[in-house]
Amino acid sequence: MTSTTYDPAAPETDLRRRGLRLGDVLFKGVSVVAAAAATALLGLIAWKVLALAWPAIQDFGLSFVWTDAWDPVAGVYGGLIFVYGTVVTSLIALVIAAPLSIAIALFLTEIAPRRVAAPIATMVELLAAIPSVVLGLWGILVFGPWIRDHLEPWIQATPLGLLPVFSGTPSQAGILPAALVLTIMIIPITSAICRELFIRVPRDLTDGALALGSTRWESIRSVVLTYAAPGIAAAVLLGLGRAFGEAIAVNQTIGNHNVIPTSWFEPGDSLGSKIAAEYVGATSLEQASSILYLAAILMVISLATNVVAQLVVVRFERARRAV
């Protein structure tokens, strides 16, 4: 508060005459520092993880990324097993989750009356709130056995069973169970973003389509989905980034086996999962060097996915502002 009496001798008054207030300067300074620190933190994480992995990168070279081996006894290390596990589980999850998420978002915004949509939206939000370790616990002890006893035999009975990826003995832990748990994890994320997008589609555009005689589905396909397409792409990428980075639930359900399995029913391993599995042994950097290399690969993949998603969002918003 400003003082009511004017005292020319008071030092703060001089500052005030120059348009400066000590409180303002301090407050702005502190908040600038905080913002700079948050930005620096992101750079620091990227730099530090790369620096930690640097000895391993020099040792193994870039070929580590596509070397299919992990044999601590022979001292042969490669990342391909884990890159394969990460990419394949995440892509399976994405292929299943993307259409489901879009359908859920459409149901909540375009079809369901408000009274029905609100509780369902809350439940989808709560699905996102389940900690990954709890979902993984359920995945390995309940969902996994169900997949082994029912889902995988069923897939093998269909023509799909002829594919090599659906061959072999059903198992409760493997690529497919991990991918399905990831699916459950990314559905609420992508569907929440899609819902936001669909809500913001201008009403007069859909109304116009309906007035021209479109059915609801036709108006959604030609207006809502077209209008929101770049946003949907970003939502899907964000879900993919989350799937890439998930370590715990995948570790619990993928079976932790250092091979590239021919069948998706069989156990494999992923980047995050392998890193998480090594925590007990991780006491020195030397011991952890190949693990740190895996962490660097994981960070690069997920940062790239996220940055691309953000760029899509930025371009989408710029285009919309221009309209």
């Binding site: 207030r21 409180g23 303002d24 407050f27 702005k28 908040s31 600038v32 905080a34 913002a35 620190a37 948050a38 930005t39 994480i45 530090k48 620096a51 359908a103 859920i104 459409l106 149901f107 909540l108 079809i111 369902i120 439940m123 709560l126 709130a129 389940i130 900690p131 990954s132 370790v133 709890v134 993984g136 616990l137 390995i140 002890l141 569907s191 007069d204 555009l205 116009g208 059915t215 589905w217 989350r242 890439f244 980075g245 370590a247 715990i248 570790n251 619990q252 995050g272 890193i275 950097l285 740190l292 962490a295 994981l298 997920s302 940062l303 996915t305 996220n306 940055v307 953000q310 930025v314």
Partner: protein, 298 residues
């Protein structure tokens, strides 16, 4: 704004009425598929919750909450993990909230639109850094050379909470009406006083929502704690210079055990964790509702 899809001639009724039955079938099918998808998501939530109650509830007792983990075979509890989780999450939020709120204030009160947008992207990308990578980062920066400790675990969780709280705060600060700022400044109140005494109180509901959601999320995070606070003694302790047991790490470790007794502990601990998470989410909804009503009343 009116954009007529160009491939459709609005006066050509014949095109539109051709295959009317097929269009109706598509329309119905779409409705059914969308409904089933939503039902599927709800069913999974209820299945997981149901399993947790079914498998975990019988294990709960007073001793479960008051006794630490047992060494061999005896009936143990999760008291050490409860205390550890509370201490670590509490410290993490103490570290994250001030920085996050300041970042948000800078974004909405000081920075221009360009810098603000850039910071938003930085926060979103930071939010997308995998939790396990954050764990490795803190491991490499702090744990190597010092050993595991609850403080380092809290620091790792704080990194995860920072972008969540900052984005939630910034979003609510942006919807605080400009008239409030103008009124306060016109009365001769300094800018920082305006922010501190007028803007922040008006936005407190939204900030609390963000904080509560962040607490619920980091309380369930396992990955950052594995490398920072996982190898702990089997006793109730709040000594932040040593590794403390936490609920997520306890669940993680016992979920991979073949021992049915350990699995039962995992289920019960998971039930406790999920109840906490759900309660926090309901709280967040209440705060969010209050905030909206307040801001609408202005």
């Amino acid at each position: 704004m009116s954009s007529v899809p160009t491939q459709v001639d609005p006066y050509d009724i014949t095109i539109r009425s051709n295959g009317l039955r097929r269009r109706r079938v598509t329309e119905k099918a779409f409705g059914v598929v969308a409904f089933l998808s939503a039902l599927f998501a709800c069913a999974i939530l209820l299945t997981v919750l149901g399993t947790l109650v079914y498998k975990g509830f019988s294990e709960l007792s007073l001793g479960f909450f008051t006794k630490p983990r047992a060494l061999f075979g005896e009936q143990g509890g999760i008291a050490d993990a409860l205390v550890g989780s509370a201490v670590i999450v509490g410290m993490a939020m103490l570290m994250a909230i001030p920085v996050a709120v300041l970042v948000a204030i800078y974004m909405s009160e000081y920075a221009g639109p360009k810098i603000s947008r850039a910071l938003r992207i930085v926060l979103d990308v930071l939010n997308g850094v995998p939790a396990i990578v954050v764990g490795i980062f803190v491991f490499g920066v702090l744990v190597v050379g010092h050993g595991q400790s609850a403080v380092f675990g809290a620091f790792a969780l704080a990194i995860l909470a920072l972008p969540m709280v900052a984005r939630a705060t910034q979003e609510i600060l942006d919807v605080v009406p400009q008239s409030l700022r103008h009124a306060s400044l016109a009365l001769g109140v300094t800018k920082w006083r305006t922010t501190w005494n007028v803007i922040l109180p008006a936005a407190i509901g939204g900030i609390l929502t963000g904080v509560v959601i962040a607490v619920a999320r980091v309380a369930g995070e396992t990955a950052p704690l594995l490398f920072t606070s996982s190898i702990a003694a089997n006793e109730v302790s709040a000594d932040v210079h040593h590794a403390l047991a936490t609920l997520p790490v306890l669940i993680f470790a016992s979920s991979e055990s073949p021992d049915p007794h350990e699995q039962a502990t995992a289920w019960a601990a998971a039930l406790v964790l999920i109840v906490f998470v759900l309660v926090m989410n309901v709280l967040a909804k209440l705060f969010a509702g209050r905030k909206r009503r307040q801001l609408e009343g202005l």
